[in-house]
């Protein structure tokens, strides 16, 4: 199929009868799903003919569902992650904004403009949509929301009457040795993860949500990311991080229903009801000392990671996806220390991105990994693994955790009258 064909199909919605397109998104036939959005009709799924690893997808991902999109759905190429603080005490205003956000998110993920659009409405008024994504397909845009601990209680105060609904699992992360956390890149009340195969689409989404939120929320920090460093699609080639290595070849795939159920989705009865079908998101900004890494010998690089740099096979094995012969790996190697078998089975779904924010004042690349991990309970997922890594990982010489945040991501938006946080604020 040519690029033009794809565009043509992308703009031509087909009628449908309401089956879940996310289910249809098929992990086997390439992740290209195109067409109209959840709110409108159901799209045509184009399957079967795509080159598995590389297709520049133009499709859309269903915004509605039992779980939020953007967690187990295929990882897109680009990220704009934004964390907001709520600056009002007015619960009704916050709820109204979440409703407006949800409506805007449903529109944008379907490739539609917000409100009356970018070039209509009253000529004397600014347009409802800022317009920079007009004409672009959604490129699989997903918007995923999470609530931070401080939304529930701050300085001991129950801010919005929801303190009793704060999950125990949403406790602040412990301090890890070696952390150098910047408060300006940490914490926050509400996170929105925007992922798309087109950075313009992701940035447009965050910009418009921020605008809708003026007076209710204020941007606390944000991060752009590129070059996904992990995949939730099993057939896809494992991408490389900025150290040039493949990492996370054993990531949970979106098709692994059992592992998702065991490690990612919060089941009914675990914690407050509003978290059923949800997940906990750990975000860490990990600065990489690129220059010193680059002058490290190949042998040491491979020993630090525990993999060869070529095909990405674990040391002592030959293929990328071979069973990791843990005992054969150096004791302090990253792969050995982070492997579920070393951590009593602790498993997380990683969704991180590389970042380069230009250079720092010393001329070094301001670069690293923006680590995003979803799990059923951070106390059984990220925390024990990171405690082990922070204490022992040979890679610590080349990285530093500089930003940190934890969010409770509720279950998916179920339909037109549902909105982000409805079950929490009900």
């Amino acid at each position: 199929m040519t690029e033009t064909d794809r565009v043509a199909e992308a703009v031509e919605p087909s009628s449908g009868d309401g089956f879940s397109r996310r289910a249809l998104l098929g992990w086997t036939g390439g992740a290209l799903v195109v067409g109209a959005a959840a709110a409108g009709g159901v799209a045509t799924a184009v399957t079967g003919t795509e080159d598995k690893s590389s297709t520049p997808a133009l499709g859309s991902v269903d915004f509605h569902g039992v779980n939020q999109a953007g967690i187990a759905t295929p990882v897109q190429d680009r990220l704009h992650f934004c964390v907001f603080d709520v600056i009002t005490d007015d619960r009704a205003k916050l709820v109204r904004m979440l409703q407006q956000w949800t409506a805007a998110a449903a529109a944008m993920t379907a490739g539609k403009q917000i409100g009356t659009g970018a070039d209509s409405g009253v000529p004397e008024s600014p347009p409802d949509d800022t317009g920079e994504a007009v004409g672009l397909p959604p490129n699989n845009l997903t918007l995923t929301v999470g609530f931070g601990p401080t939304l529930f209680t701050k300085d001991g105060r129950d801010r919005f009457g929801i303190a009793a609904k704060k999950p125990e699992a949403l406790a602040e992360l412990p301090a890890f040795p070696g952390d150098k956390l910047d408060p300006q890149r940490s914490g926050g009340d509400i996170a929105v993860q925007a992922c798309s195969d087109d950075p313009q689409v992701a940035v447009h989404a965050i910009r418009n949500l921020a605008r809708i939120g003026f007076g209710v929320v204020s941007v606390r920090w944000s991060q752009l990311g590129f070059g996904k460093t992990s995949s939730t699609t099993p057939e896809a080639m494992t991408p490389r991080n900025l150290f040039g290595f493949k990492d996370g070849t054993r990531n949970i795939a979106g098709t692994e229903t059992d592992r998702l159920r065991e490690h990612v989705w919060v089941p009914a009865g675990e914690g407050p009801a509003w978290m059923t079908g949800g997940s906990y998101l750990v975000a860490r900004r990990i600065r990489m000392h690129i220059e010193t890494w680059d002058r490290t010998s190949l042998q040491e690089q491979e020993d630090v990671i525990g993999r060869n740099k070529g095909v990405g096979a674990p040391q002592g094995a030959t293929g990328e996806h071979d069973v990791v012969p843990l005992k054969a790996l150096p004791e302090k190697s990253h792969v050995r220390l982070s492997h579920p078998d070393t951590n009593n089975g602790a498993t997380i779904l990683r969704r991180g991105y590389s970042f380069v924010d230009g250079s720092d004042g010393l001329g070094r690349l301001e670069a690293g990994l923006f680590f995003l991990a979803y799990q059923r309970d951070p106390r059984k997922g990220f925390i024990p693994v990171q405690q082990r890594l922070a204490a022992n990982d040979a890679m610590n010489e080349y990285i530093q955790h500089v930003g940190s945040a934890l969010f409770a991501c509720p279950g998916g938006v179920r339909g037109a009258d549902d909105y982000w946080g409805k079950a929490l604020f009900a």
Binding site: V122, P123, E124, F214, G215, S218
Partner: protein, 379 residues
């Protein structure tokens, strides 16, 4: 703050609104939809061909095509080079459509190949009376009151500016510093109107960082720098003080001639908040004196005045909007009150990053709904 040099499009658009009350002129529109009746202008490197030189009063549109080799821009000037409408950055081989409203009179169309100089000019004549939709009496009242407000504000500035100028001329640095922010407060309150007089704004309120090569730096900020950096007042500063006073008198004599409309009042209010957002919150405006919060308060007061005048009408059309604006104005004024010191405000360099962010959030919270005001008034 002078934004003429720095953010030309914004300021000029504001000026246009105030001068000519032209809803359409405020929405620079590139679409070719309306270009059917558009006056065709062909811009070349050495010519500016205007296809039709007698225009009807009211809504008009120009379609300019750049057939030259350089990037060009197009202006329509009223007398005294007051800008009716303009478009920059028209690349070779491209066209742009400008929609605007214009009153009877004589004007000049200027093409500026290379975007420099006075341009190649053609005279045009506008005649007739545009079909006007009858104005709501509440809006008519708002316009009348806003006119009075601008006149009064300029009058009230004069004695304070006189104190300032006299202190500068007497070499009294302490007194000059005291009166510096006071002498500007009125200007900041009616800034969109003040800026509509082309030359006065850059002459009176240009900031050093915004000067163009070769531009003479005069006005408040020139004197500000001397007062707060060297503390030396020389004959040069005394000369600029005289000129500032002369410019203020010019402003006083001209301010009554400004055409004010409900839409321009609303856009002026929004523009004042934009000024706060881009210049005051960042501390750029008063780089030496750090009296930014005075200007901030002036801008907010001016916007509030504009809103209050339009409110009886807007409340009926969009009660939710006036409710939001009431609340946000109260919030930002409450926030400003925290920084009150004597009859003025604390120095902005004592306001830390977190507090500046709080102010910035309040500006965004007010500016966003305020940007909807013109749309309601224009309906």
């Amino acid at each position: 703050m002078s934004v003429v040099r720095r953010r030309p499009a914004t300021t000029r658009a504001l000026g246009v609104g105030l001068l000519l009350a032209l809803p359409l002129a405020l929405t620079a529109c590139d679409s070719d939809d309306s270009s059917g009746d558009a006056v065709k202008v062909t811009a070349k490197d050495k010519s500016c061909d205007v296809a039709k030189k007698d225009w009807p009063a009211g809504k008009n549109s120009i379609k300019v095509t750049n057939k030259g080799s350089q990037v060009t821009e197009l202006y329509v000037y009223a007398q005294g080079d007051r800008i009716v409408t303009e478009r920059e950055n028209i690349g070779p081989g491209t066209s742009a459509t400008l929609n605007f409203e214009i009153k009877a009179g004589t004007y000049e169309v200027a093409c500026k190949p290379g975007m420099k100089g006075d341009g190649i000019r053609q005279k045009v004549t506008v005649a007739g009376t545009p079909a006007e939709k009858p104005i709501d009496p509440r809006l008519a009242e708002a316009v009348a009151h806003y006119r009075t407000f601008t006149n009064t504000t300029v009058e009230q500035m004069l004695p304070l500016a006189t104190e300032f100028v006299n202190a500068v001329k007497a070499g009294d640095v302490a007194k000059a510093k005291e009166y510096y922010p006071k002498s500007r407060l009125g200007w900041e309150t009616i800034e969109p109107v003040a800026e509509s007089f082309g030359d006065l704004d850059p002459q009176m309120d240009a900031r050093e960082a915004d000067l163009e090569p070769g531009q003479e730096w005069s006005g408040w900020h020139r004197i500000e720098k001397a007062l707060w950096t060297t503390g030396q007042i020389t004959d040069v500063e005394k000369g600029y003080a005289d000129r500032l006073m002369a410019d203020l008198k010019t402003l006083q004599s001209k301010v009554g001639t400004v055409d004010i409309t409900p839409t321009s009042i609303a856009n002026g209010a929004k523009g004042l908040l934009d000024e706060v957002a881009t210049g005051k919150v960042t501390g750029e405006e008063e780089a030496f004196s750090h009296t930014d919060l005075w200007d901030f308060a002036g801008n907010v007061d001016g916007a509030k005045k504009a809103f209050e005048l339009l409110k009886p009408y807007v409340a009926e059309k969009d009660a939710a909007l006036t409710g939001t604006l009431d609340a946000e104005f109260a919030k930002i004024q409450g926030l400003l009150f925290k920084y009150k010191q004597g009859d003025g405000y604390v120095s902005y360099d004592t306001v830390d990053e977190a507090k500046r962010k709080e102010l910035s959030d309040a500006v965004n919270a007010l500016g966003e709904p305020l940007s909807k005001l013109a749309g309601v008034v224009a309906q």
